[in-house]
Symmetry: C2
Subunit: 544 residues, 2 copies
């Protein structure tokens, strides 16, 4: 066991995790003009001009008057230190919500932006606990805020029936407080971003291996609270699979959950807080399963004649217990525009379906596993394309949200949504969602391009991740709402889950009764009453 503090962490709360720009994904350096090939493609297909529009200046965006009087700000400051409470315009604006396309469209619209009344930056579990007690007593809503990458409205500054709302920014919970190299576990502060966590672990020769598309900005606490799943989930599991222990602050006190790698001591209460999205408590520290930094990685790309053949091939390796570390398959539409190869998107038609595998571990493990997986994929109709397309995919894998911004800038609507189902239902669900999205947008005069990939596989089924691109209408929020509703209804109507890894937030609440039943919702409400009787925790999220 060691104590290691993030060397990058400073008293300046913005140093550790700079956060994202207010009206788009990521950091300024990530934003580039639309590649010429893509501009040409969307101009041709959607008839847009392809010329970017100017965006608003951050400083001039009007916000509502903060609803917290100075005395209450001082009360919050008494808990965390006055320097860790802010009602400044910039802090409020940068905690005004997440990064769904609807969020970005709202930011780009004119008019007043919604925002929390203050942003509070606690520095410890005990401070979070004290803040919750303070806010419960005064009926101030609390929105836990990690990386702010939610694409389902999970960090909207909603106040419900509370008098005010604060964003609880957890970036100062940024320590690596315990490492057990024998067990392969590490305890990480909830506010660490993906790169910060990996950097701290690398100091011990370890890695977490959780690489969702939000990796660069999202936080350890956010991964847990939303049941995130990373691109290496076939090898390292979903984030919830990696969680050994959780520390949770609630208005009713602290929960420390998880005593052993496995237990039969009653229901596993960790599962109540994984996916609770800040509505039942605030995750302050997470003990995770980690592994040595892989000694070897084998990259391989594959071509399949069609999606059905490719999906059956993925199924064969997973069900044989021979899953690679990364295992993903693009459908014909996604393969056709090279979406998985960021450097060559739109670059000429590509036939069939592209799949990508990587196998990580010791040299011996990689050799054994890759041989077994390759034999199965080949037997199932795959043609090996060599490592380069897989390396290309890895190189560009966090870039897609920047591309979405560039598309929005030139008048193209772009959004993603995702689900999961059994292998036997995969084709039917994919067809139903594609048809629903196509009909909903075509009916508005904007026929879309709908692309799909499988990026998370299980013995019994897989995820489906859809990317939708269409010409943007004058009211793009309404345009997308119609399409999103149609897709959600198609998902629940055809046996899928309303979300495989994006979580519920505000955007999927309407489908929660379909997902867990009215009685399931009552169970969650009963837990919330016990832990958050004042109802201050992230109102308006998760529960319908």
């Amino acid at each position: 066991m060691v104590e290691t503090k993030n060397p990058a962490a400073e008293t300046d709360r913005t140093a550790a995790a700079p956060g994202m720009v207010w009206d788009a994904w990521g950091v300024p350096a990530g934003h580039k003009p639309l590649p010429e090939q893509v501009r040409s493609l969307v101009t041709q297909v959607f008839g847009v001009s392809g010329e970017p529009v100017a965006r608003r200046d951050e400083g001039g965006v009007p916000l509502p008057e903060p609803a917290l009087p100075a005395a209450l700000l001082a009360g919050l400051g008494a808990v965390v230190g006055v320097e860790h409470v802010s009602a400044e315009h910039r802090d409020r604006l940068r905690h005004a919500g997440g990064k769904s396309t609807l969020d970005l469209l709202r930011r780009r619209a004119t008019g007043t932006q919604e925002a929390p009344d203050a942003v509070v930056f606690p520095g410890s579990h005990d401070e979070v606990l004290a803040l919750l007690s303070f806010c419960a007593g005064l009926k101030i809503a609390v929105v836990p805020f990690g990386g702010g990458t939610s694409v389902v409205g999970g960090v909207q500054p909603l106040r419900g029936d509370c008098a005010a709302v604060i964003a609880l920014d957890l970036r100062r919970l940024d320590g690596l407080t315990e490492v057990d190299p024998v067990a392969g576990t590490a305890t990480l502060g909830a506010g660490l971003t993906g790169p910060q966590a990996e950097a701290l672990l690398a100091g011990h020769g370890l890695s977490l291996g959780h690489y969702p598309q939000s990796f660069e900005f999202a936080s350890i606490g956010g991964f847990a609270a939303t049941r995130s799943s990373g691109q290496a989930s076939a090898g390292y599991g979903r984030f919830d699979d990696m969680v050994e222990r959780l520390t949770v602050a609630t208005p009713a006190g602290t929960l420390a959950l998880g005593r052993a790698p496995a237990s039969a001591a009653g229901p596993d209460l960790r599962a109540l807080f994984l996916g609770s999205e800040g509505t039942l408590g605030v995750l302050t520290a997470v003990t995770l399963r980690v592994h040595p930094i892989p000694a070897a990685v084998e990259y391989q790309a594959w071509s399949f004649p069609d999606f059905e053949t490719g999906a059956a091939a993925l199924r064969s390796v997973v069900q044989a217990g021979a899953a690679p570390t990364v295992l993903r398959l693009s459908d014909e539409a996604e393969t056709g525009v090279n979406l998985a190869r960021s450097g060559d998107i739109g670059g000429g038609a590509v036939a069939g379906c592209l799949a990508v595998t990587t196998v990580e571990g010791s040299a011996a493990h990689v050799a054994a596993r890759a041989a077994e997986a390759h034999a199965l994929l080949t037997a199932a109709g795959g043609t090996a394309l060599g490592p380069q397309p897989a390396r290309d995919w890895e190189h560009g894998r966090f870039g897609a949200p920047y591309l979405r911004d560039a598309l929005l800038d030139v008048g193209v609507l772009c959004e993603t949504l995702e689900t999961a189902t059994t292998w036997s239902n995969l084709g039917a669900l994919k067809a139903a969602v594609t048809a629903a999205l196509t009909a909903a947008l075509q009916g508005q005069g904007t026929p879309p391009l709908v692309m799909c990939h499988v990026s998370h596989t299980y013995p019994t089924g897989a995820s489906l991740y859809f990317t939708v691109v269409a010409k943007r209408l004058d009211d793009p929020a309404e345009q997308w709402a119609i399409a999103k509703t149609a897709a959600g209804d198609a998902i629940t109507g055809h046996g899928g889950t309303i979300t495989h890894h994006h979580a519920v937030g505000t955007d999927h609440r309407a489908w929660m009764s379909a997902e867990i039943g009215d009685l399931g919702v009552r169970v969650l409400r009963a837990v919330k009453r016990e832990l958050d009787p004042a109802g201050i925790l992230n109102p308006g999220k998760l529960l319908p």
Copy 2:
């Protein structure tokens, strides 16, 4: 999808699952006199006579007068049919509790036995739902009863503050109602025993692969309600890992949980019912991950110089992602008496520590996985002994509880207990529990033989399963209670979980606050209030 009814099921409720004898484990055919080698060993070590004592005749055992008047029995009969309600002596006695050593000692003691007032055998989910509604209205306690194999008091006929108590025997829920060979899932009735489930699945070329020691008698619903773990857990996972969907009847209505192989649609509510031990609802059907009957199996036994070396070797294969299907390690004491080889227990001293591996799957998978695992186990200090000791272990693996009965018959106390912890804490926890058991029994003048094995492994840790044998005192229940308390305190005091796969029942309730905290207990109580406001579901279990 097909509908298949258990061909063995008949209207006679005792035909499908005959259940166990009332005062010992298993069926009469399984009971044999103590092998001469073992008799000689215990005579020598513990100074007992080695002569078996006569047991009581079932028919003559006095039971309390049933507390359910005829009108209420008729009411229960109106729900399930009068032929499926019994207040007969034999039915009541055979639902009088589980099979812990304390249970068996109670049965063998003279005097009146506790028993449920009636036994009810519902035939469908809707009948279970209606029974719960009926019993909630009249405040009749309901003890869900599967195979009756609990070793922690989980099926004790406790009535709490209710006027009466019934055993809800689920054996008629014995269908295989859905098979999806593509996804690899099957929906099984909660009352099916392990062999019944495997027989039904075998008709489709499929297998579940869940083989706990209770396999021959325990039920699908019981496995789920107690978070069981089978001997092939390294390959197929714990039972809770295998659960795709759950159907739960509660006094507040039905829950149908699990919509996809993985989801981020809020907390995974399946986890609230896995391990709920009948206190939150009655599991009526479980959809499980299954796999094709393995084409190949590779057996191998190993010798390690000592437990520490063996445990490190197990860790190396699991952390490399190369775990066999079965992976277990006996410590020096267990190896020394050949406990893992039922045909030769007590047969001469054996040095070092025995480990057993099996690898199942396709021929190609077995070849690849066995090669990788063997290389790692050899590199970590293991010596391959060939397949025979592994086959011997498999052959005798369900026989240990019968041996316990034979030992009890000759005046030897024998019981097991188990825990789990991280790899880094494994040796220290094993030493602490062994020391606590030894001191507690030695202090009573009965120095024990304490043996241990690892039978369930995870990337971050493993289980520890202890077998304790000592000369039986005049009050063996008190004798064991002292030892059990010492062991439980040592487990929680040294970082273990109070139970890895036996569950909580009555026997581990005292440690639940240590396990999940007082606030965790409050959360479970809040869920119970919502689903079971009358408090009829399995009172006195799980919750402290």
